[in-house]
Every structure is written in structure tokens, then in C-alpha cells.
């Protein structure tokens, strides 16, 4: 019984710590521990630092302070559920689950509880269809866009013809990794390439057999859907079998410094998709330094500033903040509720001028949401690792994905979901 009293005390303390109504409560489900921590830490740092910056520099969003709280999931679904239940009672304005598995878990729950879920470039792709997934958003691009970007880039490189070419997909054997398969198959029918599927089991340290198969079958291109330690191992294996690195393209979650540095010089030329800018001289860095890091308020160790994933965390926070601003604008009050933030997300409108004003010129693609479109325009770019300069460099502009292929897939998948769960699609 003693344990129970202690828990009750702890739970009571948590309730007491819940923010007052006038604050904007934003939780973050992070994973600073576990097999995916190397990627989880920079993302979580970027996400947290942006809100700290808004609080310190602008006094919050629209005059209301952001109350930010982290909850550690370790990329584990059960802990994710625990975190969700823990933050739910505190009226969160939006939740970023930071894991495709946890996103799948939370989609029905958050829909029932009326909490907007924003999965930034991960999660369930068909959530783009806002008529079915009313509370779920996946700006600015989704995995099927990513698959299409990769193929478009390969098309560019091959002069527009992929007939008879072989493309291999090395993927994390989970909901996350399986996402692009359908799209790649569909695109294969159009462009005539042959797709080989090579699943890698969690956590991905063991890839010898997959890369042996690649060495034997010699595909022209390898596309990778990896996360965490799997990326590093894959890049190293590719270097070991001397696979041409510029024919090796990772999804945006497989393109951080952590993934390529261990392979050293050999990783030079490795490509990864991205949907946010990778420059080193955005004006916002001055503010971050002045208001956040020099003031000792930075999240984590503060050594991740400017890395690819840090910038992605920052970008996620930026979209959330813009959605909240929009919600405040629509409803005319700084004191917004989750339902208002949902409206803000739906009417999200980020233009080049917005990025400019936020001290991040050219940082990301333009995003315009609507009730039907919860996923943005699906723009993405290709970046390439420059080992000498120790950074990823964007080598294309933001390119469009093949919506003719993707939209029917999204419609079909979301329709199936709606039927399974008895949802009538529509905008209220």
C-alpha cells in the first residue's frame, strides 16, 4: 500500500504542477535514451529551444507564455502511451509523438480526446486527408512524397529513363519503414524499374546479409528508410562494399551528421532528402545564442545547434508556433484551446515572407493547409554529405512529388480507415 500512497503523492504533485489556463501548454514526447537517442536528442533540443526563444525574446506566443514539458518515451510504444496519458489531463495544445509507431497508437486516441497531433514528416501518410483524420496533421511532407522525391531525383540523374534499372529499398522493418513500399511499387509500374525490398529488423545493427544481397544483385540505386543506429550501420556497410555513395539516397530521417560521420571519408557523396534548410548562417542563430544558450536555458547539452536534426526540431516548433498564432488570430484570443489550435493548423499558411520574418530565410517550403489538406504541398529537396566540409549541402531546389500517383493512394487508404472506424469524411 505504501507504493500506492507514494504514487498518489507523485500524481497529485503532477496535477498541482499543471499550468494555469492562460498558458500555452505544449508537451514533447522525446527519446533522449535508448537505441534511437542519437537522433532523438538533437530533435528534442531544437524543438525545446525554439519555444524557449519565443518565451525569452517575445514573451511567448501572442502574449501567452509557452509552458513546455518533456516526457521520455525511449521510442517505446508503451512508454509513449504512459506519456500521452500523463500529459493529456493538462490540456496539451498539440502533441508531437516523434515516432511513427506512437503516432499510429495516438491517432484514434487523440481524435477521441480532441488533441491535435502533428507528425512532422513521419506517421501515417494518409493522415494528409483532413476529411478523415480531422485532428491529425503531417506537414510539410509525408513518406510517399519522400519516395516520389527520391525517384524524381534518380530520374534526373538518369536522364528521365529508368527502364530496366534496379532500385533496392533498405528499410526499418516497422510501420515507418514499410510506408514507402506502395508508392515505390506504383512508381515502378510507371517508370519501369525493378524494386527489391530488403527489411532490416529493429534496432538495425545487423545488416550484413542485406548488403551482401546488394553486392550480389548490384542494384543501380539504393533507397533507405532508416532511423537511429540503423543509418550508421547502413552507411558503413555501403562504404564497405564500395557502393557508389551518390546512388544511395536516404529518407529525411536517414540524413543527419550522426549517420555519416562514423563512416569517415567514405561516406562523402551520400544523399538524403530534407524538407528544411541546412544553411549555417540563419539570423535566428544570433537570437538563439543571445536569449537561449548564453542565458543558460538551452535544452540538453547545447552542442547540437545547427545540426540537421536540431534544425528539424526547430522547424517542427516553428510550424506549431505558427499554427498557434493562426489560432489566436482566427479566434481573437491569446488563450487558445486544443480545438482552436486545430483550426490554426488547418489554416496554416507559411510563406517565404514568414520564414524571412522569423530569421530563417528560405528555411522551408511554403505550406498552405486546408480542411482537405493536412499535409501541405509535399515539397522536399535532396541534400548531399560533404565529408570535407563536415556538413550536408542541399543540391536541388524543393521539388514536387508526383501527386497523380500519391493522391489516389492517400484517398484509398484514408477511405479504408474511415470505413473501418465508422468515420463519415467531411469538413464538419
Amino acid at each position: 500500500m505504501k507504493i500506492k500512497t507514494l504514487i498518489t503523492a507523485a500524481a497529485a504533485a503532477m496535477m498541482a504542477a499543471a499550468p494555469a489556463l492562460a498558458d500555452l501548454y505544449i508537451p514533447s514526447l522525446t527519446y533522449r535514451s535508448g537505441p534511437y537517442a542519437a537522433n532523438g536528442i538533437p530533435t528534442a533540443d531544437g524543438y525545446a529551444d525554439y519555444f524557449t526563444l519565443l518565451n525569452e525574446r517575445d514573451g511567448g506566443i501572442g502574449g501567452a507564455k509557452v509552458v513546455f514539458e518533456e516526457c521520455e518515451t525511449g521510442y517505446n510504444t508503451e512508454k509513449g502511451v504512459e506519456c500521452y496519458e500523463a500529459v493529456k489531463s493538462k490540456n496539451p495544445l498539440t502533441i508531437h509523438p516523434w515516432s511513427t509507431g506512437i503516432t499510429y497508437q495516438l491517432i484514434p486516441k487523440a481524435t477521441a480526446d480532441g488533441i491535435p497531433i502533428h507528425s512532422v514528416g513521419y506517421g501515417r501518410t494518409s493522415a494528409k486527408n483532413g476529411e478523415v483524420f480531422r485532428w491529425i496533421f503531417n506537414y510539410p511532407a509525408n513518406y510517399w512524397d519522400g519516395a516520389s522525391h527520391a525517384i524524381s531525383h534518380i530520374l534526373d540523374q538518369e536522364g528521365g529513363d529508368l527502364n530496366g534499372k534496379k532500385v533496392a529499398l533498405v528499410y526499418h522493418n516497422s510501420a515507418f519503414g514499410k510506408e514507402p513500399i506502395r508508392t515505390l511499387e506504383e512508381l515502378g509500374k510507371i517508370h519501369g524499374y525493378e524494386l527489391t525490398l530488403l527489411p532490416v529488423d529493429h534496432p538495425g545493427q545487423e545488416q550484413k546479409s542485406q548488403w551482401l544481397q546488394i553486392r550480389r544483385e548490384r542494384p543501380d540505386y539504393v533507397i533507405m528508410w532508416g532511423w537511429g543506429v540503423m543509418n550508421q550501420v547502413a552507411v558503413q556497410e555501403a562504404v564497405n562494399i564500395r557502393f557508389p555513395m551518390d546512388h544511395f539516397i536516404g529518407i529525411w530521417w536517414s540524413g543527419s551528421e550522426n549517420d555519416v560521420r562514423p563512416a569517415g571519408e567514405g561516406a562523402n557523396g551520400y544523399k538524403a532528402l530534407t524538407f528544411n534548410g541546412l544553411e549555417k548562417d540563419y539570423p535566428i542563430f544570433d537570437d538563439l545564442k543571445k536569449y537561449v544558450h548564453d542565458a543558460g536555458k538551452g535544452a540538453g547539452a547545447g552542442d547540437q545547434v545547427g545540426t540537421v536534426l536540431y534544425m528539424r526540431g526547430l522547424y517542427s516548433a516553428l510550424m506549431t508556433a505558427e499554427a498557434i498564432k493562426k489560432a489566436q488570430e482566427i479566434h481573437g484570443t491569446p488563450d487558445v484551446t486544443p480545438a482552436m489550435v486545430r483550426d490554426g493548423y488547418e489554416n496554416l499558411d507559411i510563406t517565404a515572407a514568414t520564414y524571412e520574418a522569423l530569421g530563417l530565410p528560405g528555411f522551408g517550403p511554403e505550406i498552405k493547409g486546408s480542411c482537405q489538406n493536412h499535409g501541405g504541398q509535399g515539397l522536399g529537396a535532396v541534400s548531399q554529405w560533404n565529408a570535407a566540409e563536415d556538413r550536408f549541402v542541399m543540391i536541388t531546389d524543393y521539388i514536387e512529388s508526383n501527386q497523380d500517383v500519391i493522391q489516389p493512394l492517400i484517398d484509398a487508404d484514408s477511405k479504408a480507415y474511415a470505413e473501418e472506424n465508422g468515420i463519415t469524411p467531411g469538413c464538419e
Binding site: I3, T30, E70, E72, T77, K109, K178, E420
Partner: protein, 358 residues
């Protein structure tokens, strides 16, 4: 003083053979049951249900199942995660194929299907023992997870390879899906847990259980006195897998709602349940509960104390949590190798003599 047999007269054989021969124990047991069934449902909220009580109840069923195999019959198994996955996927297929039949029956049928699979993988136990059997069941773990990942029929060809529990009701209350009330899912799981515990307790007290224990203590001697090792070992595998299957089914349908086999039913799950019964106490139903409580509640408690009360960074708390739980496991195993159940037994012995131990 109040905890002793004296004065509690039994006038029939049924009374003499009851589970709790001491009056105080019996009343304590009724009080716990009454509290769990009649009080908790009125105070339970989402956090308590989904973060603490549901995982505790479900892991307790899995631990009871594994305890029958390892603790009572002495057959080491590392396939618990895989068998839980069988229960989950069987439920999913049943739920989607026969939506008109109640989930309650689906879960029991899923337990039955898991029992059959368990018997299949239990066959090698007739020839191999100890570590070698552990390796054979490890193969079951990896094979089953691979199977559910590899064959799209099991997840109804969904693009993500995940299985999602559709909404199902019992007496008009949703027990799976997002609309379910915490008290309803809690009671649903509680019924299964209490049922499993009573069933397991009575099985292990009867002929079947005695045969298992004979096999565990010395299989050759057991065979000489007339215990059929084939029947005993396979029934142990069947009964154990039945409970584990039910736990897997509840874990998917009621607790998580969406499952990815590699992550949720991986090898870690097998180890976790094995740790539960080792810490709780091999060969004890109470030990299964104690072990499940220890490994489910302690991490949540530590997290809430370290982060919620003391305000430490989440990553530091997460790492400390691993260290503290790990340390406690080692301390427990050194101080009390027979688990929490043995501590409880010693307490009871002391209580009988209290307050005059000499």
C-alpha cells in the same frame, strides 16, 4: 495473534483444502477482491488505467502463464513474446473476420489457438532440457515475430504492417478502441486476471499441478512413479501458452489498440516476463503478481518521483530508472533468490508466532 489457525475449525474436507486456510488470509483476500471490483472502478482515471493498472493486470496474466511452465513444470521458455503475439494476431483475425461474436470469446479462443501453437513448440521439450530447451523456445520467439511480419494475411494486408483493434463493446460499453472508458477496460482485464489466477491456483493444487512439479523436481523419478512426461510437459505448455495468449490478446486489443509485432512482442518482452517471475518467485501465483507489480509500477513510480516531484531532466531520470531497477533486481536476487513470494512466506511464518516468537 490474529494470524493463526487456532480457533478456525474446519468441519469438512472442502474447508480443509481451501486455498487460504487461515481466516485472516481469507478475509484479506476477499477485501482485496472487493476493493478491486467495487472501489477502484469508481476512482479510476485514464492515467491510472492505461499507465499502471492495465499493464499490471495483463503482465500478471502473462507471468502466471510463464510461471506454470517455468516455475511449476521446470521447462525454461524464452518464447513468451512470440506466444503473446500469437494471441494478439489470433484476436485481430477473429475480430475482423467475425465482428458479430463478442470480444470476450475472441480472447478466449485466441488463448486456445496460442495453446495449440505452444504445444507444437513444446514438443522438443520431450527430448531436450534446460538451456537447450531455452534455445529452442528462443527460436519460437524469432520465428513467430518473423512470421507475423512476413505474411501479410496476418495483418490483413495493411500498408503499414500494423494491426489496429476496431471498437468492440460488451454490455453496451466499449472495451476496445479509443472511446472505451477506463473503468470498463479495467474491469474487463480484472475479470480475466482474477479468473486466470483462480484457475491457475487450482490447477497447480490438483493432480495436474503435482505431476508438473514432479517433472520439475526430477523427471526420471517422476516417470518411475507413473507420471507420463509427454502428457505432463505438453499440458504445461498448453496451459501456459493459453494464459500467455490471453495476455497478448488483451495487450493488443484492450491496452495498446495498435501493435507492431517486432516492437511490442519482441525478445525484450520474453525477458521482461521471465524477470517478473524470477523476481516475484518461481512456482507461486502470488509471485507472478508481485513480479508484475515490481516491474510495471516501479519504473512509472520512479519516473513520476524523479521528474514530476524532483524536477530532474527526463533523460537523466530515464537512465537512473534503468540503473535503480537493475540494482534492485540484483539486490533482490542476492538477498532473496526465491523472490518476493518467499519474502511474503517468511513474513507469514513470523506473523503466526507474533507477538511471542519463543
Amino acid at each position: 495473534m490474529f494470524y493463526r489457525e487456532a480457533g478456525d475449525f474446519k468441519t469438512s474436507y472442502v474447508d480443509d483444502n481451501q486455498t487460504f486456510p487461515i481466516k485472516f488470509d481469507r478475509w484479506r483476500y476477499y477485501a482485496v477482491l472487493a476493493f478491486a471490483f467495487l472501489v477502484v472502478p469508481f476512482f479510476i482515471n485514464d492515467y491510472w488505467a492505461n499507465a499502471i493498472l492495465l499493464p499490471f493486470l495483463i503482465y500478471a496474466i502473462a507471468a502466471i502463464g510463464l510461471n506454470i511452465l517455468v516455475g511449476y513444470c521446470g521447462q525454461v521458455s524464452l518464447g513468451t513474446g512470440g506466444f503473446m503475439a500469437v494471441g494478439a494476431y489470433a484476436t485481430y483475425k477473429l475480430m475482423t473476420s467475425f465482428p458479430d461474436i463478442n470480444l470476450f470469446f475472441h480472447i478466449i479462443i485466441a488463448g486456445g489457438i496460442t495453446a495449440v501453437v505452444g504445444v507444437l513448440f513444446g514438443l522438443p521439450s520431450l527430448r531436450i532440457k534446460g538451456f537447450y530447451l531455452a534455445v529452442a523456445t528462443l527460436a519460437a520467439q524469432f520465428f513467430l515475430v518473423w512470421l507475423f511480419n512476413r505474411v501479410p494475411w496476418f495483418y490483413n494486408y495493411s500498408a503499414s504492417g500494423q494491426i489496429n483493434a476496431p471498437e468492440r463493446t460488451l454490455f453496451g460499453h466499449a472495451i476496445s478502441g479509443p472511446a472505451s472508458e477506463p473503468w470498463a477496460v479495467y474491469l474487463f482485464c480484472l475479470v480475466f486476471t482474477v479468473g486466470s489466477a483462480i484457475l491457475a491456483r487450482n490447477l497447480t493444487r490438483g493432480t495436474v499441478g503435482r505431476k508438473w512439479m514432479a517433472i520439475r523436481d526430477m523427471d526420471i523419478a517422476a516417470e518411475i512413479i507413473g507420471v507420463n512426461p509427454l502428457a505432463s510437459k505438453l499440458t504445461a505448455f498448453a496451459v501456459s501458452s493459453f494464459f500467455v495468449g490471453i495476455a497478448g490478446a488483451l495487450f493488443f486489443a484492450v491496452y495498446l489498440g495498435a501493435v507492431e509485432v517486432g516492437e511490442v512482442y519482441g525478445i525484450n518482452k520474453s525477458f521482461l516476463v521471465l524477470f517478473m517471475i524470477i523476481i516475484g518467485g518461481l512456482g507461486s501465483i502470488f509471485g507472478s503478481f508481485a513480479g508484475a507489480a515490481f516491474l510495471v509500477i516501479l519504473p512509472v513510480l520512479l519516473k513520476n518521483v524523479l521528474v514530476g516531484v524532483m524536477g530532474w531532466p527526463t533523460d537523466l531520470a530515464a537512465h537512473l530508472e534503468l540503473m535503480i531497477v537493475g540494482l534492485l533486481i540484483i539486490v533482490f536476487l542476492i538477498a532473496e533468490p526465491h523472490g518476493l513470494a518467499q519474502l511474503w512466506r517468511v513474513t507469514k511464518e513470523k506473523l503466526r508466532l507474533w507477538p511471542f516468537p519463543h
